[in-house]
């Protein structure tokens, strides 16, 4: 009991003003606002695909890109919510809807190609550039995300980091498709969405290392 009293006295004596963190929505917007110039810069450096203007008019492309972008935004929101104690857990389910839209549109594209071209549409070609390209586009958003997440409470480190990684890699995939002319749904599903899944799963393994309760003496 005395030790608890001592601890309270020490904490109160060292109490300094701390601003409340902004709401998860605002943090998500800040993250997006800081990340999007980098994504745009990478797209410019890699040179945008020549048919970009035509693709913007293509409904399927727009739906798939909207799915990726909305997944990035809602996953970022969920990650920030996960670091605020006491918030309702339904917010963690927010990314599922745009994720379903994204995967659903890619799946529907695969089925359409199958009906139109038969089994030839299922031929998978190697497109290994997707992995390093998505990694490159999502690098800075991921670093930014982890830095911001570390300011919150590490209540669910693995889930939080998984959502943060999903946000960064989905944004990376969004950027990739602006300079990488690969639109075959199966190819996008396997090589691009597959990269997103692998990177997200890999990052979540490091959740407990990246986000942990820091002892007061170290802060």
């Amino acid at each position: 009991m005395n030790q608890t009293d001592n601890l309270i006295r020490r904490l109160a004596a060292g109490c300094v003003g701390t601003a409340s963190l902004p709401s998860p929505q605002r943090r998500m917007l800040s993250w997006f606002a800081a990340s999007i110039p980098y994504v745009a810069l990478v797209v410019l450096v890699m040179s945008p695909r020549p048919d970009l203007f035509d693709k913007v008019m293509d409904t399927r492309f727009v739906i798939e890109q909207s799915g990726a972008l909305l997944t990035a935004l809602t996953a970022a929101m969920a990650a920030f919510c996960a670091t605020i104690p006491g918030l309702p857990t339904w917010r963690l389910l927010l990314p599922l809807a745009p994720l379903a839209l994204w995967v659903g549109s890619l799946g529907q594209g695969c089925l359409s190609a199958l009906f139109e071209r038969g089994t030839a549409a299922l031929k998978l070609m190697p497109d290994l550039i997707c992995f390093p390209a998505i990694l490159m586009v999502s690098l800075l958003p991921a670093i930014l995300m982890i830095t911001m997440l570390r300011r919150g409470a590490p209540l669910m480190p693995k889930i939080t980091v998984a959502y943060g990684a999903l946000a960064a890699t989905a944004l990376g995939n969004f950027g990739l498709r602006l300079f990488h002319p690969q639109d075959a749904s199966l190819m996008v599903l396997v090589w691009q969405f597959g990269t997103v899944v692998i990177l997200t799963a890999f990052a979540s393994l490091f959740g407990r290392r990246l986000l942990r309760w820091r002892h007061v003496a170290a802060t």
Binding site: M1, Q3, T4, N6, L7, I8, R9, L11, A12, A13, G14, C15, V16, G17, T18, A19, S20, L21, S23, T83, I84, P85, G86, R151, G152, A153, L155, W213, R214, H215, V216, A217, A218, T219
Partner: protein
């Protein structure tokens, strides 16, 4: 309330058991007024008011003790107090995540639940690596009669090695390894911070290893 993976939930049995009233909507002992007061105190603490912060922490400690006892009724008093201290430190670390427009209790309980689950996980991991063994036969209470493997030379070597340590290192080894105090307790006893203690012990052990390395053929 959901229990996270790996956490064993142990409800205390018996007529004396009391479920924390902060979990029962109709029997809450922290009234709306008290919660409003706590919110104001936390708001003031976020602005740097140490007195308000101390009052808030003192107010929530009994609630935390009851909560931890309710979640892990089989834990000893010391274990419960350790977890309560963990929760208080976590509250301190995470105080920027509190939004004064929201009630304090859900925020506080989410942290408490997390720290209890972490402590339960640690306990489960520790016990998974422990094997129950029969106590060694004891002849007399004096230490010398209960030394089985150690030779006199080894004892002398250890004694000399410990004497060769700096004052801080000797004290850290004594408190943490011989008396088996926790880092927090040792920190309180020595005035050294926890990271400093960890470094001191690490260096002391390294030094002891070096001494033994030299001393053994």
């Amino acid at each position: 309330m959901a229990v996270r993976g790996g956490t064993r939930r142990a409800r205390p049995a018996g007529p004396t058991t009391t479920v924390p009233r902060m979990h029962a909507s109709k029997r809450t002992d922290v009234t709306e007024t008290a919660d409003r007061l706590h919110r104001e105190l936390m708001h003031a603490a976020q602005a740097g008011d140490g007195d308000a912060y101390e009052r808030l922490l003192r107010d929530i400690v009994p609630l935390l003790r009851r909560y931890v006892r309710w979640r892990q009724g089989r834990w000893s008093r010391e274990e419960i107090e350790d977890v309560v201290q963990d929760i208080i430190v976590s509250v301190h670390v995470a105080r920027a995540t509190y939004d004064p427009r929201r009630p304090l209790r859900p925020w506080l309980l989410a942290i408490a639940r997390n720290r209890v689950a972490d402590a339960a996980r640690r306990t489960a991991q520790r016990s998974a690596h422990e094997t129950a063994v029969d106590p060694l036969p004891e002849t007399f209470s004096r230490t010398e009669t209960n030394l089985h493997g150690e030779t006199r030379a080894e004892i002398l070597l250890m004694k000399r090695a410990i004497e060769g340590l700096s004052e801080n290192q000797r004290r850290a080894i004594e408190l943490l390894k011989l008396q088996e105090l926790s880092l927090k307790e040792a920190s309180a006893a020595t005035g050294l911070s926890v990271p400093a203690l960890k470094v001191t012990v690490h260096r002391a052990i390294k030094s002891l290893r070096a001494t033994f390395g030299r001393g053994t053929p």
